[in-house]
């Protein structure tokens, strides 16, 4: 469904060229739960950003359903992100001014969408937060915030959810709950790619990709 072919990413810092990814081939099919593991600086986040169309590779190709999206404009990539990709972050990144339900609705706020409230409530109920709809993020625990974030990543009915250290800020039990949620998500044919340090994640994933020094081992 989404695939990267011979993806190279180089950064220029202080006149030096730093190669974060050294020609990576990667692909994910619907319903896959994939973990990308590796030490800091191994290029995991870079790979995630490229697969999430937040960043473009220096060389190589990114294809979505066989279509080359590497050279799409910012506007096109933004549209594809909206239609196909959900994001979950380590720091949750909920908007502190909005309630749980509004946070879930955020990605569709600018669309004239009649059923949006119902869908948001339904998603929050699915992640077990049906009684927290009007709570602001500061009234929620870390696990609850991450579940709101998962509900938010699903509001656009994406086919891929990208998670950057989704359990990084959570204790063991809460982490497990979150991973259960991701597993539920994959059962609906949504692919989940999680970048993580957390060995626990691998117990839930279908496969694990180890990135070291910009290459897959």
């Amino acid at each position: 469904m989404i695939e990267g072919e011979d993806v190279v990413k180089q950064y220029e810092t202080g006149g030096q060229i730093l190669t974060a990814l050294k020609g990576i081939d990667f692909s994910v099919e619907p319903g896959d739960f994939v973990a990308i593991m590796g030490p800091s600086g191994s290029g995991k986040s870079t790979l995630l950003n490229i697969l999430g169309l937040l960043d473009v590779p220096t060389e190589g190709t990114v294809r979505l359903d066989g279509e080359d999206v590497t050279d799409h404009t910012d506007k096109q990539r933004t549209l594809i992100r909206k239609q196909t990709i959900g994001f979950v972050f380590q720091q949750f990144y909920l908007l502190p001014t909005l309630t749980a339900q509004e946070n879930v609705e955020v990605p569709r706020l600018f669309d004239d969408d009649e059923g949006i409230s119902e869908r948001a409530i339904d998603l929050l109920e699915r992640v077990g937060l049906g009684d927290r709809l009007d709570h602001r993020p500061n009234e929620l625990s870390g696990g609850q915030k991450q579940r709101v974030a998962i509900a938010r990543s699903l509001i656009n009915q994406p086919r891929i959810v990208l998670a950057d250290e989704p359990t990084g800020n959570l204790d063991l039990d809460t982490g497990k709950q979150i991973l259960d949620e991701f597993q539920n998500v994959t059962e609906r044919d949504v692919a989940v790619i999680a970048v993580t340090h957390d060995e626990l994640v691998t117990e839930y994933t279908d496969r694990t990709v180890n990135l070291i020094d910009g290459g897959i081992r």
Binding site: F89, Y93, T97, F110
Partner: protein, 381 residues
């Protein structure tokens, strides 16, 4: 209702929540706009009131034209023939020729006389009205005096004054009029024209029905008498009123310019507040971009924030300026309702508009900056 509005304009919901997030900061940024709007609106209204007050004072002499001999061309007097030509040129207006000289006058019959300007007119009743006594028409004997002269020397009809060593009885005191300078009747001392030896005149006062008619007469007189050689100076009070008006417009523009500086400062403070908030909300904006917000959506949210600040600041400013306007009009024009005259309201609307536009313009750079931040950079933890 708000629910529907937010559904319709989602940027409004986000913007409003963001503004209330840092209440004190937003209020301070809005305060700049409040001050700017008050400065522009109340300075504007102050100018309007002053102008209104002045033109009210000048209003009743705006229909007069004064013709004097062109002294700089060596013309010493206006002849009888000139007066006839003036009469012909200014149809349907009252033409009153005046002689003038300085006479020693004693008002109480004792003490040394003072030298005063005395006018000689045969028909003062044509231009002036009496508040006490009656002005004989034509004036053959006695004197008619202005209200200030009467008040200063405690004179009334029947009193006597000594002019040139001969005693003259006061026949009437002229009605006091607002006005200034040579046109004011308040300090006139009028004697019969026949008591003046020379046959020419020093001044001709033409009183028309309206300012426009006065202007026509003035042009006709200039055209006729000054055609070949400049013989007379023609002064229209109406044109002086116009000059004062235009001077006031300039002053007003200047005042509003000063007021605008305070709006400029307000704009800088909004720019500052918005820049700070884009830096603080960098990640949030990054998330919005990640979940599919286009640059223009982010721009919309940020600009809405700026405009909301402008609108709230502007509305408070408008309320306070109307308060200031009520005070200004109470003290300057003595008519509180004059605040709601169209011209004043235009200034209020103008100030409000400037306030909102200032906020919009200053919000633009921070909004543009926020919208163009790359989400990858913003989300790098």
């Amino acid at each position: 209702m708000m629910e529907r509005l937010y559904k319709r304009f989602p940027a409004l919901l986000m913007a409003r929540r963001n503004i209330t997030r840092t209440k004190v900061r937003s209020v301070l940024a809005g305060l700049g706009i409040v001050i700017g709007v008050i400065a522009i609106a109340s300075l504007g209204m102050f100018g309007v009131s002053l102008k209104y007050q002045l033109s009210q004072n000048l209003g009743d002499i705006g229909n007069q034209v004064i013709v004097t001999p062109a002294g700089d061309e060596g013309v010493q007097e206006i002849t009888r023939r000139d007066v006839q030509r003036i009469e012909r040129a200014s149809t349907s207006s009252t033409v009153v020729p005046v002689k003038q000289r300085v006479d020693p006058i004693s008002f109480d019959g004792r003490g040394s006389p003072t030298h005063e300007l005395v006018s000689g007119m045969s028909h003062p009743a044509k231009t002036y009205t009496a508040s006490e006594g009656r002005i004989p028409d034509p004036l053959r004997s006695g004197a008619v005096i202005g209200s200030d002269v009467a008040e200063e020397h405690d004179l009334r009809p029947g009193s006597t004054i000594t002019v040139n060593n001969s005693t003259v009885r006061v026949k009437a005191v002229l009605e006091s009029r607002d006005g200034f300078g040579f046109a004011s009747p308040n300090n006139k001392i009028i004697l019969p024209a026949s008591s003046f030896a020379d046959s020419g005149y020093d001044q001709v006062i033409i009183t028309a029905d309206s300012g426009t008619a006065a202007n026509q007469s003035a042009r006709a007189i200039r055209g006729d008498l000054n055609e070949r050689r400049k013989r007379v100076n023609v002064q229209e009070l109406g044109s002086i009123v116009d000059q004062i008006n235009s001077a006031f417009s300039a002053v007003n523009t200047f005042l509003i310019g000063i007021g605008s500086i305070s709006l400029l400062v307000a704009g800088v403070s909004i720019l500052n507040v918005m820049l700070m908030s884009t830096v603080e909300r960098r990640e949030e904006i990054g998330v919005l971009r990640a979940v599919g917000y286009q640059k223009t959506d982010v721009l919309k949210i940020m600009l809405t924030e700026a405009v909301l600040l402008g609108i709230f600041g502007g509305l408070v400013g408008v309320v306070l300026s109307i308060g200031a306007g009520l005070a200004i009009n109470h003290y300057v024009v003595n008519d509180v309702m004059a605040t709601f005259r169209l011209q004043n309201m235009l200034y209020v609307v103008l100030a409000f508009g400037f306030g909102v536009i200032t906020a919009l313009v200053s919000g633009f750079y921070p909004a543009w900056k926020a919208a163009n931040e790359r989400p990858v950079e913003a989300l790098r933890s």
